[in-house]
């Protein structure tokens, strides 16, 4: 075993957080520089992993494994494949951008950055874990900082930050409760006692050997769907998302909408599909229907919102519909599209939230009727806002287009009606995004905003970081699709197998 790259990626933020504990609370500059340094290191390592990942070979790479609780079959085993590597990359890019977005935080910077680093470490841990125990552990670690951060650094608008915080937390915990039951069921069912393990590959192998009966798969998948689906803000478990983002501070909104939410989609693929393929097949039509509702329902609601964060919140619910649709179609093309769309949406949503956060930091306004013509005073912010908005609209050349196109190609044949309805979302998305852009950025110059500075120095870094990814992966989609493809291609035989498999109950129709 060579250099434990993933362990460093995972532990560096935690080490930095630990280090921060010993710093004086007044040393804001050292604190934030430490955080930025740790995140820069992890990002560079992740980029190295991304670039040197061998797509021809595929499979889990950069693996590490240390037995931990042997009696329970728990081991500290990490690794990334073509599905988790893009998600890890997403986490670290957004993590660093979130640190820069929080640069000017005045209130208790020490605690803030400690919690932020723990949060980032937790999220990245879920993506690199090859062991379900580690996965769950990291997931639960994530919940605590989020709750505290919303309560202390959050903002109260339509709902109080306390309400937002508790709603977010309870949804996350409810999701994890269902997940936990499902995972324990898998654990118990897969192997007899001395062999029991939380190792995901071993569970997949058990599934291939037929250890899980179809009715077991259907039941357990349903539990996982409740857990991961509510995390992915699947209708009707989505209402935490807009409220939660609205109440949360900028960095939490960025990480939550950008990556944490994606654990839902990632889990559905990694556990739901790979371990419980028949369950996935059974519930797929239901998921497709809900996906369509997600897209249109949230888009319609976004159209009548006044608060910027609510628009982006509902917009993210709407975009998750495409991810669900891609998943539900259960073919290589659509699932690749779903994974890619998670990355794409993560980048654009966190860019959106960072720009909104900037506006809010300067003006303390988020309500659209109060904002006007910011392009006059803030041309750089305008570029950031436009990039995020146009990527949401699915403009080619930006990161959003290819994933959506891939999902549409993949799901059209499987669910023509749902797909057509979901695709009509591109019109409504354009409608609410362009309305928002028009009102906030353009129009006559308002003297009210004359005194405010445009983004400069560190404030520009979230835009630069996320913007590079947004445009780079948009112009050269193979950067993203190549890796994802190497992760999804190996599922092809499984997908063909379940496509032909006669189902017990004939699926939900």
């Amino acid at each position: 075993m060579g250099f434990p790259l993933l362990s460093v990626v995972f532990l560096a933020p935690l080490a930095a957080a630990l280090f921060l504990c010993f710093l004086s609370r007044d040393a804001r500059d050292v604190i934030r520089k430490t955080a930025a340094g740790a995140m820069t290191l992890t990002l560079l390592l992740t980029i190295y992993a991304y670039v040197s990942y061998d797509t021809a070979m595929g499979g889990m790479q950069f693996t590490e494994s240390i037995p931990w609780i042997t009696d329970l079959g728990v081991s500290y085993s990490l690794g990334v494949d073509g599905i988790s590597l893009p998600m890890l990359f997403l986490t670290e890019v957004i993590g660093l951008a979130a640190v820069f977005s929080s640069w000017n935080i005045d209130k208790r910077p020490k605690e803030f950055f400690i919690l932020l680093l723990v949060l980032i470490a937790g999220v990245s841990g879920t993506f690199i874990a090859r062991d379900l125990f580690i996965f769950l552990l990291c997931y639960e670690v994530v919940v605590i900082p989020i709750y505290i951060m919303v309560l202390i650094w959050g903002s109260t608008k339509r709902v109080t930050k306390e309400y937002a915080g508790i709603k977010l937390t309870i949804y996350l915990l409810m999701g994890s409760a269902f997940m936990l039951v499902g995972i324990v069921a898998l654990y118990l069912q897969a192997y007899p006692q001395p062999l029991r393990t939380f190792d995901i590959e071993a569970l997949i192998a058990a599934s291939q050997m037929g250890s899980f009966s179809e009715s077991f798969q259907i039941f357990t998948f349903f539990l996982l769907l409740l857990g991961f689906g509510s995390l992915l803000s699947m209708f009707p478990f989505h209402s935490w998302s807009p409220d939660g983002y609205a109440g949360a501070p900028t960095a939490v909104s960025m990480i939550h909408a950008g990556v944490l939410k994606k654990i839902g989609g990632y889990g559905l693929i990694r556990l739901g599909l790979l371990v419980l393929p028949l369950g996935a097949k059974f519930w797929a039509p239901l998921i497709a229907g809900l996906a369509m509702i997600n897209v249109l329902y949230a888009a319609y609601i976004a159209m009548v919102q006044k608060d910027l964060k609510y628009i982006v919140g509902y917009s993210s619910v709407s975009h998750m519909g495409y991810v669900l649709l891609g998943f539900a179609a259960l073919n290589v093309v659509s699932i690749s599209g779903a994974v890619a769309n998670m990355v794409a949406h993560g980048i654009m949503a966190s860019l959106f939230f960072s720009q909104i956060g900037f506006i809010y930091e300067k003006t303390h306004l988020r309500s659209i009727p109060e904002l006007c013509g910011l392009a006059h005073q803030m041309p750089r912010l305008t570029i950031g806002f436009m990039l995020a908005g146009l990527a949401s609209v699915g403009l080619p050349g930006l990161i959003g287009f290819v994933p959506e196109f891939t999902i549409f190609v993949g799901s059209f044949a499987a669910y023509p009606v749902f797909a057509v309805l979901a695709i009509s979302g591109i019109i409504f998305t354009a409608l609410y995004i362009l309305r928002m852009l028009a009102k906030v950025l353009f129009g006559p110059k308002s003297d009210r905003f004359d005194g405010y500075q445009d983004e400069r120095g560190i404030e520009m870094l979230p835009l630069i970081l996320l913007g590079i990814v947004l445009v780079g992966m948009g112009l050269f989609p193979e950067l993203l699709m190549g890796v994802i493809s190497s992760g999804v291609e190996p599922i092809a035989p499984l997908l063909e197998q379940i496509a032909d498999a006669p189902t017990l109950l004939g699926g939900v129709r």
């Binding site: 709603k167 309870i170 009707p236 989505h238 209402s239 329902y297 319609y300 609601i301 976004a302 159209m303 009548v304 919102q305 073919n331 290589v332 093309v333 690749s336 599209g337 013509g373 392009a375 006059h376 146009l390 403009l395 080619p396 050349g397 287009f401 290819v402 196109f405 891939t406 549409f408 190609v409 059209f412 044949a413 057509v420 695709i423 009509s424 591109i426 019109i427 409504f428 354009a430 409608l431 362009l434 309305r435 028009a438 950025l441 353009f442 129009g443 006559p444 110059k445 989609p477 193979e478 699709m481 190549g482 994802i484 493809s485 999804v488 291609e489 092809a492």
Partner: protein
């Protein structure tokens, strides 16, 4: 050797303006002159390359059937492989020439037009991107590439229409353009997806083989759906009824942009798409009928609106819609040649008209209402001459460009359907009338006292002159050089003149111009009285048949109204259940708190309550067992 080099480097043609966009955007945005110099240099280079490519096409073995194709993988997922590249055939070459030439002239004109605008750097960046997107669309090798650049063209028009972003009207017009064309894109995207999943490829060359085979085997019904869906895209982009509403508003952008949008980029993209995918459309009689009739109707419909409008650019905008209708009509009746010929001539004379209008508006210090102008003939002789040539060209009078191309279209229509031919001829009459009205009202009569107008500066004057020359000769050239042997579908077409058709439309145009002269110059009849006599029709036309109002109503009802209802449901039903559950937990916890309050007496009471329940249950159970046993005995 040289022609090979040109063909294999055709991809540079869109790339150069794209580089200009990046360069200006990153480095010289704030520098007016440098930005203009970069944009114009890159455009000139791409124009030269386009000339080279055209030369290679004309001299080499490249025909409509044997194009030059070069492509590279863009991305790949499973069986879906999407390429980017360049496809060069005579149609592409013609478009490359037109687009690079018009955008170069527009950029030169803009140096003069935008001289005093602080945002000129940004303007040149967007213009370059616009040209790059359109050129990328023109050389597309497959539907995916075409769609990518199609959307980018839409983006550029959004950015440029909303260029004066401090104006609310410009901002709204930009949004409207994007969203209206998006509705079209939705249809186009569905069509493209159907092609991809049916044929497993989007490549034009492969589909050219696969589609006819598919139709031969399984009939036209499925492909008709695909064709109609694909055609929704052009309806939006090329401003056909009922998605034409964005085009007149697009004049909110700076005038050079209007010239570019209306002449060489954006709107002709729709026509070009139908032309490029003609191997699909021409095999589907139902779709061809739809195209022809929608085109014919749009041509007529837009002309009736143009009759009564007052702002100079709006009249031209409706004339664009009308002329695009002609191009669609030509495609629908089966003549790719006529349509593309008209596309080319129209690009020149419409760019000319718009740039003249820009010169006039600038000279009038941003006054756009033609009835507030008048007498500009003497003050702006060059512009007047150029405008006159433009008007004669669009009215289809010989020997100007429009005469030849319009005659081709009417001839093609007459060969297929008499009603369509009559509709086209009637539209020609209306066109000549409203264009003559524009010319007479603006340039004849007496100048109002204190009219500030003077002739334009050199940057703006020379593009006008070049375009005026092109508007004179491009028709003749196309006619005598055999445009139809060059750009055609199926078999090469003769570009002959049917003297009956050409004569009829020429006479009608002359009558219309004479009529306009009598009304607006000689004032034999009062325009006001005529408008009063046709009160209802006039009001309908003047208000553009209230289509915008109707759409606003639709949007308010079905988007905002439904959105509000769903938001209410989200807040009160979905969140109501969530909060209700939370409250239920709260209530349960109060109950349990009541049971566990730390007082021994209550615990004892609870304990006895429990005992009673248990005893009752055991008694009930014992009873049940006994009855069972009793039954057994």
């Amino acid at each position: 050797m040289f022609s090979d080099f040109m063909l294999t480097h055709a991809w540079l043609i869109p790339l150069l303006p794209a580089l200009a966009f990046l360069w200006i955007g990153f480095f010289t945005r704030l520098h007016k002159k440098r930005s203009a110099a970069i944009a114009i240099t890159m455009s000139s280079l791409s124009f030269l390359l386009a000339c080279g490519v055209t030369w290679a096409v004309l001299s080499g073995p490249i025909t409509m059937e044997t194009p030059f194709v070069q492509k590279t993988l863009w991305f790949e997922i499973g069986s879906v492989r999407i390429f980017m590249g360049s496809l060069v055939d005579p149609l592409t070459a013609m478009m490359l020439m037109v687009v690079t030439m018009v955008s170069l002239l527009v950029q030169i004109y803009s140096v003069g037009y935008m001289a005093h605008d602080p945002g000129a750097g940004r303007f040149f960046a967007f213009l370059s991107l616009f040209a790059a997107s359109m050129l990328g669309l023109v050389i597309a090798v497959n539907f995916a590439q075409l769609y990518v650049f199609w959307e980018l063209v839409g983006l550029c028009s959004y950015l440029l229409i909303g260029f004066y972003y401090d104006k609310v009207s410009a901002r709204e017009a930009a949004k409207k353009a994007f969203i209206t064309t998006r509705i079209g894109d939705f249809g186009l995207l569905l069509g493209i997806l159907l092609l991809q999943i049916t044929f497993g490829t989007l490549d034009f060359q492969e589909l050219k083989v696969l589609v006819p085979a598919y139709i031969w085997i399984s009939g036209t019904s499925f492909m008709t759906i695909v064709g109609l869906l694909l055609f929704i895209g052009p309806i939006g982009k090329s401003g056909q009824f009922p998605l034409h509403v964005w085009l007149p508003d697009a004049m909110e952008g700076p005038t050079p942009v209007s010239a570019l949008i209306h002449a060489a980029t954006m709107v002709v993209a729709g026509v070009y798409l139908v032309g490029r995918a003609y191997f699909i459309f021409s095999a589907l009689p139902v779709v061809m009928n739809v195209i022809a009739w929608l085109g014919g109707f749009t041509a007529f419909f837009a002309a009736t609106i143009a009759l009564t409008q007052r702002p100079i650019k709006r009249i031209l905008a409706y004339s664009t819609i009308s002329q695009l209708g002609y191009m669609m009509l030509a495609l629908g009746v089966g003549s790719l040649t006529a349509s593309m010929f008209h596309l080319m001539t129209h690009a020149f004379f419409k760019a000319l008209l718009f740039l003249c209008a820009g010169a006039v508006i600038e000279a009038m210090q941003d006054e756009a209402d033609i009835f507030k102008m008048g007498g500009l003939r003497k003050k702006m002789p060059v512009t007047f001459a150029a405008m006159t040539i433009g008007v004669l060209a669009i009215s289809g009078l010989p020997p100007f460009a429009g005469f030849f191309s319009k005659d081709e279209i009417l001839g093609a229509a007459a060969a297929v359907s008499t009603p369509l031919y009559l509709l086209g001829t009637l539209t020609a009459f209306l066109t000549a009338f409203y264009m003559a009205r524009l010319l007479f009202v603006t340039f004849f009569g007496e100048a109002s006292p204190g009219c500030p107008a003077t002739e334009t500066n050199a940057f703006m004057r020379w593009p006008l002159i070049v375009l005026a020359v092109l508007s004179c000769v491009s028709g003749l050239w196309g006619h005598f050089a055999g445009f139809g042997e060059w750009v055609y579908f199926g078999a090469a077409e003769e570009t002959g003149i049917d003297w009956v058709i050409a004569g009829t439309s020429t006479v009608l145009s002359l009558v219309a111009i004479g009529l306009a002269y009598e009304i607006y110059v000689a004032k034999r009849w009062s325009a006001y009285e005529i408008s009063q006599r046709f009160g209802v029709l006039y009001t309908l036309s003047f208000n553009k048949y209230y289509i915008d109002e109707f759409y606003t109503l639709l949007r308010r009802t079905f988007c905002d109204g439904l959105g509000r209802i769903l938001y209410w449901i989200d807040l009160h039903v979905i969140d109501g259940i969530v909060n209700g559950l939370a409250r239920l937990v709260g209530v349960l916890s109060t109950i349990f708190t009541f049971l566990q309050n730390g007082q021994v007496q209550r615990y004892v009471a609870v304990f006895y309550g429990g005992v009673i329940v248990l005893v009752a249950y055991s008694l009930f159970y014992a009873y049940k067992v006994l009855t069972l046993l009793g039954g057994a005995f």
